[in-house]
Amino acid sequence: MLSKTRSAGLVGMVVLVGTLFATAETRQELHFKVGKKPSISINNQYGPISVKAGAKREVVVTAVLQSNKVEVDQSHRGNRVDIISHLLTGADQDTGQVEYQVLVPADANVTLTSMTGPLHVEKLHGDVVMEGNTATVDVRDVSDGHVHVKTLSGPVTLTDIRDGHVEITSLGGDVVLTSVNGPLVEVNSSSGKIRYDGDFGAGGEYSLTSHTGDILATAPSYASIDVTARSVQGQVENDFQLQPKHTAFPIKAGSAFAGTVGKAASSVKLFSFSGKIHLKQR
C-alpha cells in the first residue's frame, strides 16, 4: 500500500501527464484529389485558415489541433471537399483552436468560415467567400473570381483583386482595398472605415457605403470616373476637378459632390450617413 505522500505525488503526476495529453498539439495532413473548379469549404470556429494555390489537382489540408477537445470532420463528395472543426464538450477558444494551412488548385472556389480567424487567401482564380466574426480577413492576388466577405468586427484587407465581383459587408471592421478593380465592387460598412486606393479600373461599378464610418478613396489624376458622393450628416471633400453632371438630388456644398473625371468609364458612388468622405488625388 502506498504512503499518503507517495499517493499524492502519483496522483499529481497522473494529473500532469493527463493535462499534457489533453493540451498536446496534434497534426493531421489530408489529401483530396479533385477535378476542375472544385469547391472547398472550411468551417473553423477558432483559429486561422490560410489558403494558397498549389500546383497539383489536389487539395492538401494541414491541420494543427490544439487539444483533444476538437476534431476535424472531413467530407469528400465528387468535386467538393468540406472540412469542419468539430468542438467537443468543454472546448473553448483556446482548446478548441485548429490552425489550417490549405493548398488548393488555383481555379478552386473556396468558402471559409471562422469566428476568430484570421483568414487568408491568395493567388486564386475561383470564387472566394469568407465569413468571420472578429476574424481578420486578408485576400491577395485573386483574379476572375468573385470575392464575397462578411465580418462583424473583423477588419478586411483586399489587395490586387481583378475582374470579378467584390462584395464586402462589415458591421464594425475597417475595410481596406488596394488595387481592387472589377465590374462590381461594393462595400457596405456600418461603423468601420472604408479605404480605397486604386484607379477604379476602366468600366465598373464601385459603391462604398457606410453608416458612421469615414470613407477615404485615393485615385490617380488619370482615373476615369463618374463619381457621386454624399453624406447626410458628415462632411465631404474632393481633390479632383470634376465636370459637373446632373443628379437626382440637390448638391449641397460640403455634403455632396458629383461629376466626371476623364472619360468617366467607371461609376463610383461614395455614400455615408454621418461619416466623412474624402476623394483624394494621389
Binding site: 470556429q45 472578429t134 462583424l152 457605403t209 450628416q233 450617413f273
Partner: protein, 211 residues
Amino acid sequence: MTCEEFERVLPEIEGAHSAEQESHLHSCSVCSELVDDLNAIALQARLLRDSENEEPAPGIWNSIEIALRQEGLIRDLTSAPYLVPARPRPRRLAWLIPAGALLLLTFGLVQHERPRSELTPQVPIASTNPEPTDAANSDDQQLLEVVSARSPAMRASYAASLRDVNSYIRDAEQSVKTDPNDVQAQQYLMSAYEQKSMLYQIALDRPLQQQ
C-alpha cells in the same frame, strides 16, 4: 471639292449634304457610289434590329431564376409576407435573414412617429432617439438568448452589434421617411437591413458542438 476633301468630311456628315458636297457627288461616280453603298449598309443594319428572332437557350431562364432565388429577390407571394412574427422561437429566426434583406420593399408601410426636427445637420451623433418596435426588440432578444446559450462570452459583443445596426436602420428609415423619392435613402435602408441580415446569419450559423 476634291475626292480627298470629300472623304475627309464624310465621317462627319449626318443627314443632308451641303451644296458643295452635293455638287461633288453629282460629278463623281466613285464618291457617289461609295455614299450609296454606305447608306445601303446603314439601312440594312437598321432592318436587322427589327428582324430579331434569335432566341437564347431555354436553360438561361432557369439559371436566372436560381440566382434570383438564392439572392432572395424572388419570394413566394402565396404565403402572407409577415415581417415580424408574434412569438418567434429561436430555431425559426433563420427566416429573418432573407426577410431582412427584403424589408426595403415595405419602407412605405413603416409607420414611425418621430418629429422631423431630430434630423438636423448640427447633430453629430447619428441617432439620438432609439425607439425600436416591440416586435423587432423581441426578435433581437431571442437572438441574444440563442447566442448566450451557445457562447455566453459573445453576448455583449452581439448586443453592441445589434445596437449599431438598429441605429443604422433607424437613421436610414428616417431618411426615407424624409424623402420617399430619394433613391439613395432607399439604398441606405437596403444596406442597413443587409447588415442586420448578416448579423443574424453569422449569429445563427455555427458548427456542430456537443452539449
